[in-house]
């Protein structure tokens, strides 16, 4: 019975965040627009030489995804913190780490998934070959949840601070480095027609690691931020 | 060994001595800063204590 109510709380929390996001549809689109804009600025900045674009494409798309994730992350716990619902999670009779996981999952579904779906279009913009676009999609599929999971720890640490946003990027961006390296080089390698199983399994390993550790760290950080 | 030769460092004097100089600066700063902080803290605490005593 207890397990049943945990599953119910988990799904209700996700559904609740969905309803809230739908009632603020305009805000929901911001990270996505940011992602598209930043990516399309690069050809304007460095010139539209197809070979150059193709060379920097994977890195550009991944850096843009990273920044878009960072931009959207600030809101994961902010409003819950301000209206006091965050306290209610901590005082719930369910494990806080699982509630956190529900929040992060909802965040990924709301902001990460749209990024993922639009990414092939950006791949075409930057002239990536079909094999590269395919792998780009897979790396984003495996990688954007990692962005949300790692970011959640940083947000949880800074949610009580007045100028949390700047510090958040300082805390989180260095932790994104391995993912950025593995993912963009996977796309590069695929574009060159070489096998990328090693890259993909490394990213999958990062995902497993983040999934298993980050909810606990986030829960602990929320406790600190609220005390 | 000849001193000028030593200071010359086989032509790498600038790189070697700047590196050691920066190291010295950083190491010294790490010693001096806590010393100054402690002195400031102690006078600060003493002042607060004196003020508290006058108020009561």
């Amino acid at each position: 019975m207890k397990r049943h109510s945990l599953i119910r709380a988990f799904s209700l929390l996700i559904r609740r965040d969905f309803i809230l996001a739908m009632r603020h549809r305009a805000e929901m689109a911001n990270p996505l627009l940011f992602f598209i804009l930043v990516t399309s600025l690069f050809p304007l900045g460095i010139g539209a030489n197809p070979r150059l674009l193709q060379a920097v494409g994977p890195g550009v798309i991944w850096v843009a995804a990273l920044l878009a994730a960072l931009l959207s992350l600030d809101g994961v716990f902010r409003s819950d913190f301000e209206d006091g619902t965050l306290e209610q999670y901590l005082l719930s009779s369910h494990p806080v780490s699982l509630l956190v996981l529900a929040k992060v999952l909802a965040h990924w579904l709301i902001t990460g998934l749209p990024l993922l779906l639009i990414s092939p279009l950006l791949g075409v913009f930057l002239g990536l070959p079909a094999a590269g676009i395919q792998i780009l999609f897979i790396t984003l599929l495996l990688g954007t949840p990692v962005l949300s999971l790692i970011g959640a720890v940083g947000v949880a640490l800074t949610v009580g601070l007045r100028k949390g946003g700047m510090i958040l990027s300082l805390l989180v961006l260095p932790l994104y480095v391995p993912l950025l390296i593995f993912a963009s080089s996977a796309v590069d390698t695929a574009a060159a027609g070489l096998p990328v199983t090693a890259h993909l399994s490394l990213i999958a390993a990062l995902l497993v690691l983040a999934l298993s550790l980050s909810p606990f760290a986030t829960a602990a950080a929320l406790r600190v931020s609220l005390s | 060994m000849n001193l000028t030769e030593f200071l010359h460092m086989g032509g790498y004097a600038f790189y070697v001595w700047t590196s050691y100089g920066i190291a010295l600066l950083i190491l010294l700063a790490n010693v001096v800063l806590p010393l100054r902080q402690r002195r400031k803290l102690l006078t600060d605490i003493a002042r607060t204590a004196r003020r508290a005593r006058r108020e009561t």
Partner: protein
Amino acid sequence: MTDSGTKSYSLEARALECVRDDRTLFRDLAFRLEPGQALLLEGRNGSGKTSLLRILCGIRLPDAGMIAWCGTDIQRLGADYYQHTAYVGHRDGIKLDLTPMENLAMARALGRPSDMTLEAALARVDLYGFEDVPTRNLSAGQQRRLALARLLVTDATLWILDEPFTSLDVHGIRVIEELLEAHAQQGGMLAVTSHHAVNLQRSPVHRINLSA
């Protein structure tokens, strides 16, 4: 509404100390609360009432001492403690963009559900008929009553309330007082801070004045 009175719950504070901004708010504070009893915290602003309630919730760590639930440190109990507690703090802990029903459904899912339906809980705090109005459109007093309705949808023994009567009118205060009285009569426990005098005629009330 609460567990059957046969189980003997107890909440105990042992040698609590709380320091904030280099100021010791209280030291060596001890009390014991049993089913049917209410704890009323009094004191000036900034005397540590809210801090003490947050320590009781386990959100804030005491600088010394501990809170024990049935003899065990609440920091060790974690979720096993929280299934017995409900907290309404300064902030209402409700989402203004959701309806009262959606808010209560979430609150119920986070704890151990009680037998009362969500509609019945809303009716108890005089919000019957507001089920689907966006919470943002309710008045401050109505929002506060909605926050307090959360207490009814979970099966908690210990209610921890920080200024429950804020922004309530005379009628609202009476409604909530009845709620508290009924909870205590059924073997519940209360820990409350309030500027208002709290009228609980039929239940034993401990008073702790933190300014003293």
